[in-house]
Symmetry: C2
Subunit: 330 residues, 2 copies
């Protein structure tokens, strides 16, 4: 090909590797020769030399949750505008697999990592992430010992406090909280805000109704049955994710208990199920698209300028009132 372009082999290499020291004339001669010959540069080898794969690696806990699909899609839109491709892996909420995927993506030499960890306290995983040389963006996780990572956080506390206070003001005294494991930031923050709202109300804190059990539908299904069979059952439920909500609504239907009539229900994150349920379900909402595009932005700003320090972006939650929250005796 160098012969066809009438240039030195080293010039071809410089063009293929985006070397700054290449004249426009040289560039076009080489690129024409490439096109004529149907030559396809081995991108993998090229990226090994150049140290950039133009790929951004994602690790998400559950792709069956449409929330993560929306976050990834929004991030990808931002990344592809600058020529990066999103490559997604999932841990299936298994912290061991988180570490495997982080290793895999590092070995495949992605340029940055955007990750939502199954467990933010696992030493081996943190160790694995520390080995990664590019920018890391954590989604809603606080990881000790990973000070160089940027973070896109949600302020789960404010929405949870609003929701709890709203239910208490309607006259509910026994509110149950179902959420994920306390090993991740959103759940820990929610339980704290829930307790704080009770503390301010002077009502007794219903310790027995707090279930930081996990985000999967099965947990919602089981906890709902168990909570409603208690001698003193809750009159309202706050449900920490759309996946949990699926399980909760399944159990309520089976028990013949109607949301918004027999029991008040608040969910977290607005999805078609909460929006289009009859009655529509009150949610603690956040801008999921903004989470994805912020993550892309934080990754890109450090890719474009490695001297940029890591940043933390905090996005708000807001309470969207709908018909699933009513007074306990009305």
């Amino acid at each position: 090909m160098a012969r066809r372009a009438g240039v030195a082999l080293s010039s071809v290499s410089r063009v293929l590797n985006d070397h700054p020291d290449v004249s426009e004339n040289m560039r076009s001669r080489v690129l024409e020769a490439i096109a004529e010959l149907g030559y396809e540069p081995n991108l993998l080898a090229a990226s090994l030399r150049r140290g950039s794969s133009r790929m951004i690696g994602f690790i998400v806990p559950d792709l069956r949750n449409p929330l993560f699909g929306s976050i990834v899609t929004a991030a990808q839109d931002g990344l592809s505008q600058q020529g990066y491709a999103a490559v997604i892996t999932t841990s299936s909420s298994d912290a061991d697999r988180d570490a495997d995927m982080a290793r895999l993506l590092r070995h495949r030499q992605v340029d940055a990592l955007i990750v939502s960890l199954a467990d933010q306290t696992r030493e081996d995983l943190i160790e694995e992430l520390r080995r990664f040389r590019g920018p890391i963006v954590l989604l809603d996780r606080e990881v000790d010992g990973l000070e160089d990572a940027s973070i896109v956080e949600t302020d789960h506390g404010s929405g949870m406090e609003q929701a709890t206070r709203h239910l208490l003001s309607l006259g509910h005294e026994r509110v149950a909280l179902l959420t994920g494991s306390l090993q991740v930031r959103p759940s820990a923050q929610r339980v704290q805000a829930f307790r704080e709202a009770y503390r301010q109300s002077a009502l007794p804190y219903p310790e027995d109704l707090v279930r930081p059990v996990g985000f999967a539908p099965e947990f919602g299904e089981r906890s709902t049955v168990e909570l409603l069979r208690r001698p003193s059952p809750p009159t309202a439920l706050i449900v920490g994710s759309n996946q949990l909500l699926t399980g909760v609504l399944r159990s309520l239907r089976r028990l013949g208990i109607r949301p918004g009539v027999d029991i008040a229900v608040v969910s977290c994150d607005d999805v078609p199920l909460s929006e289009l349920h009859n009655p529509p379900i009150t949610v603690i909402d956040r801008d999921v698209t903004e989470i994805g595009s912020s993550a892309a932005r934080l990754a890109l700003e450090r890719l474009n300028n490695p001297d940029t320090p890591p940043r933390r972006v905090v996005l708000p939650t807001t309470l969207v009132l709908r018909d699933s929250t009513h007074s306990p005796h009305g």
Copy 2:
């Protein structure tokens, strides 16, 4: 490291590359030396030499659709049992991006491709897939000129015929069909089956109510309004995906038209929204987990034995009757 293990450098290389001609004793000496030195083999370079990355590349049109998340998750379960990792990319239903992603995954040397294409008729994309050297599994697409690919198909026709016949037997004469573009197999099959059910009924085929418009919620939202404003509106809707259903239900709510009372609604694929809607929505269902695990199986059987010819697996659809389908006048 070869010195530390007291073996020849070529032996280290043989161990790292899983060469069959290595004694157990040699293997353990080398691996111990690796562990002691904290040496980490460059997996990428190793896979370049060995020709296997242990990665399976996915291309899906929309990760916001929980259906694809479920398919990918089921496939990943099957793949990881044999030590393969799923690496997922998305085209955002853009056929240009399909080709980009196929190229990216090929260059990153994934061992097999599992793909759900945005457009099964695009020449450049088919060309790109033809360049890929490992097994390809197509999800529900029929691609001319790609005879060497395995296929996991859904028999959309039987479920659609059942659904249409059911609505006609209830007394509906004007049934509308909303589905994706005819450039993909599911939509083409559905329209054909819908027409066939009408042909058998001797009722006039409602050509004016067939909308192969796309799978996104916006299409469902717009088509519903447009269909219901016609001089002779449909009394029943068949909706070709859970994403479309979201848009359809939004419009029905805005128009004050109740599913199962004012209009019969059938959807495709069971998701929490259809299951937990009030009234629950009749669906043409299929086993989504089985789609994912079949895809993994078809990829693995050709990875394990390259002489295996491509296979086609056809999975059934069944009609699940619920309260959203009623007679038009009662």
